[in-house]
């Protein structure tokens, strides 16, 4: 799966869970930059990503995530 498709899917997931599109998906984007993306919604986003991509994360992998770029790399490594 190429990066553009991954980004599109993540974007759809974020929109569905956060119910807004006030974000621009770039590598440096962090949860703090996006309205409503906090520890509660984070887990819903992660679960949805696992479902959509058919992958499983480890908690420690998630804790290491720094920004959108590292999330995309992590997803790629699992595909």
């Amino acid at each position: 799966m190429n990066i553009t498709t991954i980004k599109e899917k993540i974007s759809e997931i974020l929109t569905a869970i956060l119910e807004h599109t006030n974000f621009e998906l770039h590598d440096e984007l962090t949860a703090k930059d996006v309205d409503g993306w906090d520890s509660l919604s984070h887990m819903m986003i992660i679960t949805k990503i696992e479902e959509e991509f058919g992958i499983r994360f480890k908690l420690r992998d998630l804790n290491k995530l720094k920004n959108m770029g590292s999330l995309i790399t992590l997803i790629q490594s699992k595909l």
Partner: protein
């Protein structure tokens, strides 16, 4: 030595002057001085546990390094587990041992085993809930590779023992605190003045608001058997305000003092009662504890339960809040307090409104009628849990609630019709008013952009109010935790 004491004034003035006039040459000088000052401060309050604090600093410092340098993941995990056992063990022993010990014998009693047991006298070291949580967070962050461990023992010691936060938080994060003390701090007049303002506001909240509320609430709860439901409700109202003013006042004073030394601690309260639901409330109430619980309890738990979706989320929230409650003390009342808050989340989880967090009536002068109704409702929900927080046993709390739900609720609360209730209510209105105006600011009394006359008018008014309505107090509610 508490912030609102003469002792503290005598302590802080020379410390402040020495720090900036003589020791401002390098970060090392500043840190050595802060460490010595912090240890003296801790020993001044209670010298008996100074060795415990020092031991905890040494062990956590070396465990942090050990986790980081271990090559295999199993070794890293081993050192992390050692750290968890050590820190949680400290808490369990000093804070919860008697609770489990008593409940164990109670349980035996239920099963018909009659055994008498003595009482163990374990004294709670001051600040233990705060500094052990800080250390736990540090070790987990190092294990998760979110931060590098500190290689500087001096900096790490200051991080743990820094006197403005040692007794009651905020529960700091290494990632926020340590970078600030790695470099030399340079005196900023604006920051120092802002710190003094924040301290003044905290002092007013504690000495005027909390202490006057206590004068009204204490006799009601101490004599609740003879009070009407309506009076207990009035008591619960003033106690809720007392609890907020006491702890947010303490936190503002801690942040203010810290700013005097050029260090910014994390915000602990952000006008929590200006919220429309319980989720929003907890994002603004005791933020350093809530975010700690979110990161180290809720996240792993909800991750484990993620395939159960909303049910998993709900179980994680309720379990996290039970722990939030229990953190406050070894009493079933705190468990019920946490449980109730957890249950308040049920409608939010099922309606999907859990993430709505915003500044109330942003950019407007007044909230809408709908927002007012939501705020009042939220206040009532929190007030009901405050009864458990205040009561010495679950039975007492339930008796209070039973009274509130009885016909005596419509009695006129005569006993509280006093001058102090009237003056306190006016002072509370002023308190809430200023917090409302500053709800979008970095702290409750951030008035640097006000006209000079207005600023000085407010300072002088606060001084006068402190002088005429201030009450001395020996402690803070949160010192017992």
């Amino acid at each position: 030595m508490i912030f609102n004491s003469f002792d503290f004034a005598l302590f802080i003035i020379p410390v402040f002057l020495l720090y900036w006039l003589i020791l401002s040459k390098s970060a090392v000088y500043q840190n050595v001085f802060l460490l010595i000052t912090s240890l003296v401060f801790y020993a001044w309050v209670d010298w008996r546990f100074l060795s415990l604090l020092l031991g905890s600093i040494v062990i956590n410092f070396f465990l942090g390094k050990a986790i980081h340098t271990a090559e295999r993941e199993t070794r890293q995990l081993l050192f992390l587990r050692l750290g968890l056992v050590f820190n949680v063990g400290l808490l369990l022993y000093f804070k919860y041992f008697n609770f489990f010990y008593d409940n164990f014998f109670e349980l035996l009693h239920v099963f018909g085993v009659q055994k008498s047991h003595g009482i163990l006298h374990i004294i709670l070291p001051l600040g233990i809930s705060f500094f052990t949580f800080q250390n736990l967070g540090y070790l987990i962050d190092v294990y998760n590779e979110e931060i590098e461990p500190s290689n500087d023992f001096l900096q790490f010691s200051v991080f743990v023992a820094f006197f403005p936060k040692i007794l009651s938080g905020p529960i700091e994060r290494a990632a926020n605190f340590i970078p600030q003390i790695q470099k030399k701090r340079i005196f900023s007049y604006q920051v120092a003045v802002d710190g003094l303002r924040q301290f003044l506001w905290g002092l007013f909240a504690k000495v005027v608001i909390a202490e006057n509320c206590a004068v009204i609430a204490n006799p009601i709860f101490e004599n609740y058997e003879n009070e009407s439901g309506s009076t207990i409700l009035v008591g619960a109202f003033f106690y809720t305000i007392q609890l907020y003013a006491d702890f947010s006042g303490y936190s503002n004073m801690a942040l203010g003092v810290s700013k005097l030394f050029g260090i910014e601690l994390m915000r602990n309260f952000a006008t929590p009662f200006f919220s429309t639901n319980i989720s929003d409330f907890w994002r603004k109430w005791h933020i350093s504890l809530t975010t700690w619980m979110m990161d180290y309890v809720f996240t792993p738990l909800s991750f484990t339960l993620r395939r159960y979706q909303k049910m998993g989320l709900l179980v994680s929230i309720i379990a996290t809040f039970v722990l939030v409650g229990f953190w406050h003390g070894a009493n079933w009342t705190f468990v019920v307090y946490g449980l109730l808050h957890g249950f308040y989340f049920v409608p939010l989880v099922y309606s999907g409104n859990i993430n709505s967090s915003q500044i109330m009536a942003k950019g407007k002068w007044f909230p809408s009628v709908k927002e007012i109704i939501k705020m009042v409702l939220l206040f009532v929900l929190v007030m009901l849990t405050a009864i458990f927080f205040r009561a010495d046993s679950v039975t007492t709390a339930l008796n209070c609630l039973q009274k509130i739900c009885s016909v005596t609720l419509i009695d006129f609360p005569h006993t509280v019709l006093t001058t102090i209730t009237a003056t306190t209510s006016i002072l509370i209105l002023f308190f809430i008013g200023i917090e409302w105006i500053n709800r979008e600011k970095k702290h409750d009394f951030e008035i640097s952009n006000y006209h000079m006359l207005l600023r000085w008018g407010l300072y002088i008014s606060l001084f006068l109010v402190l002088l005429f309505f201030g009450k001395s107090s020996e402690t803070f509610i949160y010192f017992q935790f």
